[in-house]
């Protein structure tokens, strides 16, 4: 059994090739300074706050402490307490207040401290944040970002290692995106903030400290698009966020066995940018979808169903899923069994090739 790959993979970003809406952009340029994903988010937040005085940061412990992951480190010091708000300990209040602030013309970037704590704010997200624009015939825009550190593999106690992204993908009116490396983190958070729609922004917490080259001057297209991370011919493997380094490692291992994997980082989970996936599947005929989220009624099921709908005759095998178990997140000593890892991905590759 292998661990979930964080150590083994290392600076996964080095291999990053960002492909956005057809044009390749190498935001992983090798001469760019290596930056942690957390720091890149911090830099992106800072850039957005400098560009637009209406951008606010709000959440629990985001001020002096800089957030429990230090993503907002130094922002309150530099922008003041009126731009970076430590809030009372209440997530419905955080989202609900952000909705009101957005109606007033602000662009609040809210932080949920851990994935498992978004649920007290779920009602405000689904009932107000997601529906407000539709309800008011577009008269009230909701440029709110909900940042959520997510995923497991950090040895944490209950509620600190969940992958709740599928819930949000099921909510019309939201956009759901996630980054997997520093360069994307920097550009995607800015794109999220400048978007007039509410964006749920998932941050792969166990990758916060992984470094990748970040060229802040790079010209990038929309980062809310699928990115082909490695081209290959035998099997398409699709994932996002925390599992991308696992995919890289799997592709390396598979290559050593003579198998060529094509890797796609979805980046946007709702809406999906499915064309690159379909194109790839038309080539390889085989698809494995990897996600930490439990399998039932999830984003992975949706991807499988849609690929079947749109590329039925191209599929030489069923779409296989490597997902979290359909159990509550286990005690952390067992998380290596729960999470998708190198072996599980390779096992799925074996199985999908066996058809």
């Amino acid at each position: 059994m292998n661990a979930t790959g964080s150590a083994a993979v290392g600076a996964a970003g080095v291999a990053v090739v960002g492909m956005s809406n057809g044009h390749v952009s190498s935001n992983g340029h090798a001469s760019a300074p290596p930056t942690t994903l957390a720091k890149a988010l911090n830099m992106g937040l800072r850039a957005s706050m400098e560009n637009d005085p209406k951008v606010l940061v709000m959440g629990e412990d985001v001020g002096k402490l800089g957030g429990v992951f230090r993503v907002t480190d130094g922002l309150q010091k530099d922008f003041g307490e009126h731009r970076v708000l430590d809030t009372p300990l209440a997530e419905s209040g955080i989202i609900g207040a952000a909705v009101g602030l957005a109606m007033r013309g602000y662009r609040p970037v809210t932080e949920i401290q851990f994935d498992g704590f978004v649920f007290p704010g779920f009602d405000q997200i689904i009932s107000q944040l997601a529906k407000m624009t539709f309800r008011t015939q577009g008269r009230v825009k909701m440029p709110v970002v909900v940042r959520i550190p997510y995923g497991g593999g950090i040895g944490a106690v209950e509620h600190h290692a969940e992958a709740p992204e599928s819930f949000f993908c099921h909510i019309a009116g939201l956009r759901v995106v996630t980054c997997s490396n520093a360069a994307d983190a920097y550009f995607m958070i800015q794109e999220a903030i400048s978007c007039d729609d509410p964006v749920v922004f998932f941050e792969p917490k166990r990758r916060y400290w992984e470094k990748a080259p970040l060229d802040v001057g790079a010209v990038v297209g929309s980062t809310f698009s699928s990115a082909i991370r490695r081209t290959g011919t035998d099997v398409t493997v699709v994932s996002y966020g925390p599992s991308m380094p696992v995919l890289q490692a799997a592709a390396d291992a598979a290559a050593a066995e003579g198998r060529s994997l094509e890797l796609i980082d979805l980046r946007t989970l709702s809406p999906l940018d499915l064309d690159p996936v379909l194109e790839s599947v038309r080539k390889t005929g085989r698809l494995v979808v990897v996600s930490e989220a439990p399998r039932e009624s999830s984003i992975t099921g949706d991807i499988a169903a849609r690929v079947m709908e749109e590329a039925f005759y191209s599929l030489a095998a069923p779409v296989l899923r490597v997902a979290g178990m359909d159990t509550p997140y286990p005690p952390s000593k067992l998380e290596e069994y729960y999470l998708p890892d190198l072996d599980k991905v390779l096992d799925a590759v074996d199985r999908v090739l066996a058809y």
Partner: protein, 420 residues
């Protein structure tokens, strides 16, 4: 500055102190909690209790309140009161028309405000154009004061739109159906007013100070969102007035199911003022809300107001109140009708003559006719409405879904007969 004193006054306001005074406390002392029946007696008494702010009593007698002046000269008073009378009569009239339209199948549902005209007009007329209001779903009277044409309320209840007006242009948010949600949204908006520098005397601009008012019911006070709204507002000194219309009922549940004691007391738990006003007294509602909004505009928010009133009709046209409340309760409240006391005061004091009352009646009739005609003429938007404004920015996936649906629909137009 009386702050510390005031804080102290709050902090001694707990049962224990009183309790301790009654005995040594060695053994479990006699029941401190009010019995259910006492609670009911205290809460459902139509008098509203000793703390009730009232300036125009049910008999139409006017007694100004020293703490909540109306800020109106003797000369202007008749016009003020006649205006409020007109507001209430017109609002009641289209409210009744809404009920009738539902009965006749023209609306799928109507939410009556009957009995709450004073609570809503009093509050609504205390608002300045720059003030923001967050309604629940029953605030037709506040909408009226905010310049929303009554016909704009109809699309929601006919099912043609989820919101018929422009919340930005009118400073009146869309109706909010999930109980309590709008209250924390209101706090957020008020936080924005403060961040904008629109609260308190401004040195840099000449724009008038602003505040926000959030409307919610007695039932709503139990929701976590209302609590969090008050916590946030207190934490950020947000200029928001929490205006609770205690109409005694949350559908079939009486207010004592939500609280043992009068609801305005909640404010003390957060450290801001709470007032109970006679919600059937339009002048008191106006005076108290004006005071509260001024407090907020000048930076002393938040403030809570409990307007003690009564839901004289069913919860909605889908509801059958005979299942859960006695007719005599409604009878008792009928004597406290919010419009009647104003009519009595105007007539008895010669402030208005028969012609005035006739003219308002005529105006109400006209409004009802226009309201009805507009309702019946309301058309269903094209199916494409489903897909519009889901997002403000382009969304290829939804565009594809829309295109597919379009061509699916077009398929029917091609065929002469559709399936089955």
């Amino acid at each position: 500055m009386v702050n510390q004193q005031w804080i102290d006054s709050l902090t001694t306001a707990r049962g224990v102190k009183e309790r301790g005074a009654t005995g040594a406390g060695a053994a479990p002392t006699p029941t401190m909690a009010p019995s259910p029946s006492q609670v009911i007696a205290g809460l459902k008494a139509t008098s509203g209790g000793e703390n009730l702010i009232q300036v125009l009593n049910p008999e139409g007698e006017f007694t100004p309140h020293p703490d909540y002046p109306l800020d109106v000269s003797a000369e202007d008073f008749p016009a003020l009161l006649k205006g409020l009378y007109r507001d209430m009569v017109l609002v009641r009239r289209f409210d009744r028309e809404g009920n009738a339209l539902q009965r006749q199948g023209q609306l799928s549902i109507w939410v009556p405000l009957l009995g709450q005209e004073a609570a809503q007009i009093g509050a609504g007329r205390a608002l300045e154009p720059q003030d923001m209001a967050f309604p629940s779903y029953r605030e037709h009277g506040v909408a009226w004061c905010k310049g929303i044409d009554p016909t704009e309320l109809l699309p929601i209840f006919r099912g043609t739109e989820h919101c018929g007006w422009d919340p930005v242009a009118t400073n009146f948010a869309g109706y909010c159906i999930v109980i309590g949600n709008q209250v924390i949204n209101a706090t957020g908006y008020a936080m924005g007013q403060r961040l904008d520098g629109a609260v308190g005397p401004s040195e840099t601009s000449h724009r008038p100070s602003e505040a926000t008012i959030a409307f919610f019911g007695d039932g709503a006070t139990s929701q976590g969102d209302v609590h969090e709204a008050m916590v946030f507002a207190a934490a950020y000194d947000a200029p928001v007035v929490f205006y609770c219309q205690n109409n005694q009922w949350a559908i079939s549940e009486p207010v004592e199911r939500q609280s043992r004691i009068p609801l305005f007391n909640r404010a003390a738990g957060y450290g801001f003022p709470g007032v109970r006003v006679d919600g059937n007294d339009v002048l008191a509602c106006l005076a108290v809300t004006r005071w509260a909004m001024d407090e907020c505009r000048s930076g002393n928010g938040p403030v809570m107001i409990e307007a003690f009133t009564y839901r004289m009709d069913a919860h909605t046209t889908s509801d059958d109140p005979t299942r859960y409340r006695q007719a005599d309760e409604a009878q008792a409240w009928k004597l406290l009708d919010p419009i009647e006391r104003v009519r009595v005061h105007l007539a008895r004091n010669g402030l208005a003559d028969a012609a005035f009352f006739d003219q308002i009646e005529a105006e109400a009739d006209e409004l009802a006719v226009r309201f009805r005609a507009f309702c019946i003429g309301l058309t269903t938007p094209a199916p494409d409405r489903m897909f519009s404004h889901v997002y403000s920015e382009p969304h290829h996936q939804l565009d594809t879904q829309q295109a597919e649906f379009r061509s699916y629909l077009d398929g029917f137009e091609d065929e002469t007969a559709v399936h089955a």
